[in-house]
Each structure stands twice: as C-alpha cells, then as structure tokens.
C-alpha cells in the first residue's frame, strides 16, 4: 500500500497543516533558545566599553634628552584583562622635549597604519615603521609617500613637578581620523 494512493480529504489537510505549523514553531523555538543564549554571550565584547584612560606617570622630566631627540618609554598602567587586574607594561610611547620647551610631546609607538611598533631611527632622525615602510618626522608628521593614513598619534601629556604623565590610549588604525578604540 502506498501513501499516494490515499486521497487527502479536507480534515487531514487541515490536520497536516496544523502538524507542519506546530513542528516549525517547536523546531524554531528549539533552535532559537540555545542560539540566542550563545549569541548574547558571544556579542559581549560589543557591550563592554573601555573606561576613560587615566594619566599615568611614565618618567621624569630630566630623563629626557635636551637636544630634541625622541626617547622611547614603556607605559606601565593598571590593566584589566578579563579576570585579571594587574599593573604591567601596556605599550610604549615616545617622549620628545623640543629644544627650549618645558613640556614634552608624546607620541604613541603604535603605527596608525596597522599597529606595528614604530622604531625611531637615529641616523635619519625619523620614525620608521618596520612593517609597511611608513615614515614619520620627529614630530610625528607623515613623510610621504607612506601608506599610513594619518600622522603618528599624539597623546595627552602633562608635567607634575618633575614627573611626566601620559594619558595612554589606543586608537583605531587605518583611518584618517583618530578614534579611541572601544
């Protein structure tokens, strides 16, 4: 006996529709609950916003060369990495005391092109990125032709007594405007 040989009547048609609809609703529910729960947690990083960066002490004023050469310093700051809170090096900056100035300029060592660690090249007096050859002047300005879309990122910097404090922030790379990473 085969199923096709039965002529479906009105009742079984309605019953069939009801069964199909219920199966779809229940099946959909079964799929949605775990997926939604998973998705909510998966998307968690989008909800978390990094708090505003604070000024941290990086060095003392008299540790900076007076001839206007930039010098690299690690930034040691409080850091929250998921379940860990620690105080550790989180990145590096270049401080430069322009001749005659009493406050240093601060540049982030992160390349605005794609995030490599920019090196300062003494002989040419330029910053050079070891990755895709972006070059910057001592004040961070782009030296064309460089693939970087913007100059090196300057960071807020202040002097308290003899201490140099820097507001260390991370910015999105690869865009011409400077937007703090969230």
């Amino acid at each position: 006996m085969s199923y096709e040989s039965q002529t479906p009547d009105q009742t079984s048609d309605r019953r069939g529709f009801f069964a199909a609809a219920s199966a779809i609703v229940i099946g959909g529910f079964l799929a949605i609950v775990p997926t939604a729960a998973a998705l909510a947690v998966f998307l968690n990083p989008l909800r978390k916003r990094a708090g505003e960066a604070k000024f941290v002490r990086v060095t003392t004023l008299d540790a900076l060369p007076t001839d206007g050469t930039p010098r690299e310093f690690p930034v040691i700051a409080n850091r929250v990495d998921a379940w860990n809170r620690s105080r550790e090096p989180v990145g590096a900056v270049y401080l430069r005391l322009p001749q005659g100035a009493d406050k240093p300029d601060c540049l982030s060592a992160t390349c605005p092109h794609a995030g490599c660690f920019v090196a300062f090249d003494g002989p040419s007096d330029e910053f050079k990125c070891p990755c895709h050859n972006s070059a910057f002047a001592v004040d961070g300005a782009i030296i064309p032709p460089s693939p970087s879309p913007r100059p090196m990122d300057s960071l807020a910097c202040k002097v308290e007594g003899n201490d140099v404090l820097v507001k260390f922030e991370d910015f999105y790379t690869g865009r011409s405007d400077k937007v703090v990473k969230q």
């Binding site: 990083p45 092109h113 969230q182």
Partner: protein, 734 residues
C-alpha cells in the same frame, strides 16, 4: 569472519559502500594529476590527529599559552616533532591548495555540473587560510602576537562594521585572554567543524560527478583501487617526507654548522613571550601571507582608502573573480581567460612574496662596501631638497642619480635593521627558553615576568636609555693601541667589567686619567688622580695587584668566585694594604678603618657589591659615595624604580642566571646604536624574579651559575628610592 561480515552487511550494506568507495570507475585510467585532493585530505587528517594531542597540552590564556607551548616543545618527549608536523603540514596544505586549485582550473573541472563543488572548494580554501591565521597567534609569542595585531587591525577598516568586527574577533578592545580563547575556539572548534562539513559535501559531490577526465580518454578505464590509491599514497608520502624534512630546519644548517641533534631545537619556532611594550621589528606574517603584507606597501599615499583597497577591496574582488570562474568558463574563451587570470594571480602572489623576502633579506647578500660612497652623502643631504640642489649645482642628471642611490641605500639599511631585529628576536627567544628551563621554572604570572626580571635582558636596554649618554660599555684591552670612539667620546668611565680585577687594574694605572676611566670627568683633576699618578706608580706592582684583588673581592662578582677563593691569601694581604691609614684608608673608609673618612671619598667597604652599586646608582651624592665631588651623575633613585636599578646593577655585575654548561658572562655586549630603540620593560615589583639570584633556592642552583648573594637588603644606603616606592606610580620606571 565471513559470517560476521555478512551479518554486518545485511544490517548496514557495508559491502556495497566499500565497493562503491574503492571501485569507482576512473575513465582514462589513474593519473598523477588527480592526487591533489587526496593529499589535502591526508594533510587535514594529519592536522586533526596532531592537533588533538596538542590540544591536550595547550592552555589558552596570556599566562599559560606560551608556557604550555614551551612545555610541549621542550618538556615532552617528541613534542618538537608533533608541533613541527602540525606547523609545517599547515604550510604544506596551503601549497597543496594552490596546486589543487590550479589543477581544477586548468582541467576545467569547475564547469557544469561541477560549479557548486568548485564553490565548496573555494569555501574550504578560506577555512584553511582561517585555520592558519588563527593558529599563528596561539603560542602567544612575539611573532604571532604582532602579526595578529596587524591582521586584526586590518579588519577594522571594513566600512561600517569594521570596529565591531574587530572587537568580536579580539574579544574586546585589547589583546588578552579573550583573544586567545576566541582564536582557539575558532581554530580547534568552529573552523575544523566547518571544514569537515564542507569537506563531506565536497567529496560527496565529487563522487556524484565522478572525476573530470580529458576527452577522449587516452588509456583504458581503471578503478580507484588500487591504481589511483597507489598514486595518491605515493603523493601523500612525498608530502609527509617534505614536512618531516622541514621539521629538521635544513635552511639553518648552513648558518649553524650542521643539523642540531634531534630535539627541541628543531621543529616549529617559538619566539619570546608576547609583550606589547617590547619593540618587535621582526614582525612578519607567515610566508604564505607575505604577499598580502607586501601588497599593502603599494598603497603609499593612498590614505585610508588605500588601506581599504589593499586590505579589503582588492582581496574581495579577487575572491569574487574566483567564484565567478565557473560562470565565465561556460564559454571557451572564458575558460582561457580563467586560466590566464589564475596564472597572473599566482604569478603576482609569487612576485610579491619573493619581493617581500628580498626586501627584508637583501642586506645579507649585499656588502656594506657598495654603499660606502653614498652613505656620508645621504647622511649629509638626506632628502633636504635645498641642500641637494646646492650640492649638485642643480644638475638634474646627478640629482636623479643621487636619488636613486639614496633609495637603494635606504632599502639596504632597512633590510639591515630587519636582519638585526630577527637576530635580536632569536636571542630573546633563546633567553626566554633558557630561563623557562631553569630550576626555578616559570612563575604563575607567566614567562613574560622571567624576561622582565632578567638582568641579562633588561640591563642592556636600561643602560642604553639611561646610562649610555655618558658611560660607555665596551670590552677594551688595557694595552689596546686605540680606543673605540664610543669610549673616547664618553664623558664617564667605561663600565664593562666594572669592579673586576681587570677593570680595577686599569683604574689604578695611568688609565685613571684617560677616557677609559675618569679622563673626561672632573675627577681627572681630583686627589685620587694625583695619588694614582704620583704615589701608586711608585708601589711594587705585586702590592698594587694585591690591592686590586682585595678590592675586587669586595664586589663578590659571580664571574670571579673561583679566583677569589683561590687567592684568599693575597686578598687578605691586599685588605691589610687598603686598611692601612697611610694608603687607601687615608681618604677612604674601608670596613672599620678610616671611619672618619665617610663623605671624603667613596666608601670601599663592599665596593662594587650589589648593594654598593645599587646605592651608588640610586644616589651618588650619598655620604657613602660623592657627597661633595659628584661630577654630573644624577641620582637615579628619583628617576627609576628600584627594580630597574637592580636590573642595571645586576647586569653590570654579570649577575644573572645562565644554564649550566653554557659559557658564562660577557658575551652580552651593549650596542651603542640600541640607544635609538631602547625597549625598556620594567616589571611590577611584586612579581617573583625567577631569573634573579635572590629568589632562587640555593640548592637548585647549578654550581657555576650564581653566587648565593647574601647582601643584607637593608645595607642600601639611600632613602630616596625607598620613599619613592610608596608613591603611586613608582613602578612606572622612567
């Protein structure tokens, strides 16, 4: 047996299944060009098997990822081979993918009815590349960390969703635990799962359509088993042999003088633990992504659109073209076009890869002499248009030539920089591994603290930033005819071998007033200079030698332990000479002798010892050192954290962990040009200093490595840094 098979067959139909699998008809007979798909399946299974065991050892967090990979590589039997096979098979897979793609396109095997299967293949290719990308980060070493930073940063240029995408992949705004957990979930779960899913579909469709053969077949048909299986097996064997040979790292045999013994030196590389504050100029993606890396350089001056083009638009367009191949291939001309395009694409990839490699390595093949002529000119003129015009009198031809030469020279220098960074990275990696294998082991805070607390690693960097503007650090023989310029120009003593017998013999000689010691300081005119020149030169050389030995013994240098023990008698005699108030104790305090001299001349008690040196660096103006006669040396206790000062002192004294059997000491020379790029990582003070003498149990010490340094901690004479350590940001070293 037969009964069992019959039983199983009646329930499962296994016989026909196997028959179908093995006796598939191959029109035109088995051929070598059909092997690529099978080699890929073989490679994937190798990855699954090796990957699962790696998984059993791997622990994804920033404090355990490097550490667990180190453990696999160095502490498990054959771990190096397991990692090596996984690492190199991944690379082989990418090559095989390219070959498979080529074979499919050239044979026109993407044409109807096989379009969908071609698309499935392209999806599989994306998955394999995703596996490579995610796998590269997992060891959480410098290499993987910096490469992944770039890769994930490129994600953020995708219009609109870029930043969110990046944040989802990285697991937040910063790289950390959740970057690893996410990458690991992708690498070991999502991507292999997807790969299996698409692979099943791919193989099923392949079976449905059968092999794509050439018309008309030249040879008689055969079946898959055994002819094609044999060819496939031979091809897989070849792949495996290549992978095994790669595990032995043949490229390095030339430079390292032959193959190292089978063991952790071989297999996949593991660079130093990831450190966002430590400059890593050797950052490069895995070689098969080098072409993309190189491609980005072409968008100079393109601004953000350039980057968008290079990182997103062009690669997507290329992918789209590949997806369109089956449609274009409907026409005969289209098929030719596809082949041509693929060849151009692969040629381009090859060109960019070679170009990237050449750009980085050209200095290894060029000689510095080639650039000797242009170097001073470039240094003088640089890219200053005015100067260039003036120099060449506006001669356009010469200017053009200069520009070309300048560019060539700059490329050469860049490559030189790169090679130097690679070497530095290798040294750091080796050091991290040495420290991790030390008896003290890896602290729970992770291997990164080993390096941050290692004088051998941190000393040169800190010295470069803070000391090298005045002091030199060069190994110089006292009877050398000429001094290196770094020593000549230094305005303070050369500190290489500080407080050692050799160093003190030089100090107490006519060199006192030379640039090696105090020649370029105010002390050249001081009383001590007069004493050395007038009085000491009259002494019997044997007596001077005794004083040198005795004074040097005060330092308790780890490098001189044996000599100090052997010469106990002479040292005793030397001590007596020093303590004699007609000699040194006339001006210096030494133990109980010359007490009243404190503040007149430096205290010789414990001269050059760890505590003495830390005190001197922290505050040279202290009573114990030069309260009135200090010549320009800053009190570093106000600038540096106590930890940083300890690192410098320990490094100057050669006080660091060295694996037993390794040659100790002065190999680590400070390079003056490091000054331009000092990376100074200063650790949080409470982290255990595993490589540090003080924190290691004395009995676990290899005999030749460390002295049991028993300097009382409170003998430190300055108060400045103790105070400093209370203040909020004290460990932000300067």
């Amino acid at each position: 047996m037969n009964a069992l098979v019959n039983w199983l067959d009646s329930r499962t139909g296994i016989r026909s299944l196997i028959h179908e699998a093995l006796y598939e008809r191959i029109p035109g007979g088995s051929r070598w060009r059909y092997v690529w798909g099978s080699t890929l399946v073989f490679a994937f299974f190798t990855q699954v098997i090796t990957g699962i065991v790696l998984w059993m050892y791997y622990s994804p967090s920033t404090q355990t990822a490097w550490e667990s990979v180190y453990y696999i590589q160095h502490e498990t039997a054959g771990g190096w081979l397991l990692r090596g096979v996984h690492h190199f098979m991944a690379q082989a897979m990418v090559v095989l993918l390219a070959l498979h793609l080529m074979q499919v396109v050239i044979d026109g095997a993407y044409r109807a009815p096989r379009e969908v299967n071609f698309w499935l293949g392209l999806i599989l290719m994306q998955i394999v590349l995703g596996l490579s990308l995610t796998g590269y980060l997992l060891p959480w070493d410098q290499k993987g960390y910096w490469a992944t930073r770039v890769a994930t940063n490129l994600l953020s240029v995708v219009p609109g969703v870029g930043p969110s995408l990046q944040s989802l992949v990285v697991g937040g705004a910063e790289y950390g635990h959740h970057t690893l957990t996410r990458f690991f979930a992708l690498h070991a779960g999502v991507l292999p799962g997807a790969l299996i899913f698409f692979l099943v579909l791919h193989v099923a469709l392949f079976r449905r359509h059968g092999i794509c053969y050439r018309l008309p077949p030249k040879f008689a048909d055969t079946s898959f088993w055994p002819d094609q299986v044999l060819k496939d097996a031979v091809a897989c064997l070849a792949v495996l042999i290549v992978v095994l040979v790669m595990c032995l790292r043949p490229a390095e045999w030339f430079s390292s003088g032959g193959m190292p013994p089978l063991g952790p030196e071989l297999g996949a590389e593991l660079s130093a633990p990831a450190d966002p504050a430590n400059q890593y100029s050797a950052a490069r993606p895995e070689w098969y992504f080098l072409f993309l890396f190189q491609f980005l350089k072409f968008f100079e001056g393109g601004g953000e659109y350039g980057e968008l083009m290079g990182a997103v638009v062009v690669p997507s367009l290329v992918m789209l073209l590949l997806f369109l191949m089956p449609i274009l291939g409907r026409w005969n001309l289209g098929h030719r076009f596809n082949i041509g395009m693929l060849m151009i694409l692969l040629g381009g990839v090859l060109y960019l890869t070679v170009d990237a490699y050449y750009e980085d390595h050209q200095a290894a093949w060029a000689s510095a002499e080639d650039y000797e002529e242009i170097k001073p000119l470039v240094e003088e003129l640089g890219s200053d248009e005015e100067k260039i015009q003036a120099h060449f009198d506006g001669d356009a031809g010469k200017i053009e030539q200069y520009r070309r030469q300048r560019e060539a020279y700059q490329r050469y220098r860049k490559s030189q920089e790169y090679l130097r960074s690679v070497e530095k990275a290798e040294q750091e990696a080796q050091r991290a591994i040495d420290l991790a294998s030390a008896p003290a082991g890896i602290p729970t805070s992770g291997a990164i603290t080993l390096l941050r607390n290692d004088p051998k690693t941190q000393g040169p960097k800190l010295f470069g930033t803070h000391c090298a503007s005045c002091h030199s650090y060069e190994e110089v023989a006292l009877d050398a005819e000429s001094l290196p310029p770094a020593v000549e120009d230094a305005t303070a003593p050369n500190l290489h071998g500080f407080a050692s017998r050799a160093w003190l013999s030089g100090l107490l000689s006519e060199h006192f007033t030379g640039p090696l010691y105090f020649g370029n300081t105010a002390h050249a005119e001081g009383e001590m200079a007069g004493f050395v020149v007038d009085t000491l030169s009259e002494w019997k050389p044997a007596d001077v030698e005794k004083v040198v030995m005795a004074l040097s013994a005060e330092a308790q240098l780890p490098t001189q332990q044996q000599a100090d023990a052997d010469d106990a008698e002479q040292i005793e005699a030397g001590r007596a000479l020093i303590a004699n108030e007609e000699n040194c104790a006339m001006c210096h305090k030494f133990g109980d002798a010359g007490d009243y001299n404190l503040g007149v001349a430096p205290d010789l008690t414990g001269y050059g010892s760890r505590a003495w040196l830390i005190g001197m660096i922290s505050n040279p103006n202290h009573q114990r050192f030069y309260p009135d006669t200090n010549d320009r040396m800053p009190a570093f206790g106000e600038r540096l954290s106590p930890h940083a000062i300890e690192m410098i002192a320990d490094w100057l004294r050669g006080e660091w962990y060295e694996p037993s059997g390794a040659e100790r000491a002065d190999t680590d020379t400070f390079e003056a040009d490091d000054e331009a790029s000092p990376a100074e990582a200063d650790a949080a003070e409470d982290s255990p200093a595993a490589g540090d003498a003080d924190s290691e149990p004395a009995d676990s010490e290899p005999a030749d490595s460390e002295p049991a340094d028993s300097e009382p901690a409170d003998s430190e004479p300055t108060g400045a840094d103790a105070e400093d350590s209370e203040s909020e940001d004290s460990d932000a070293s300067s």
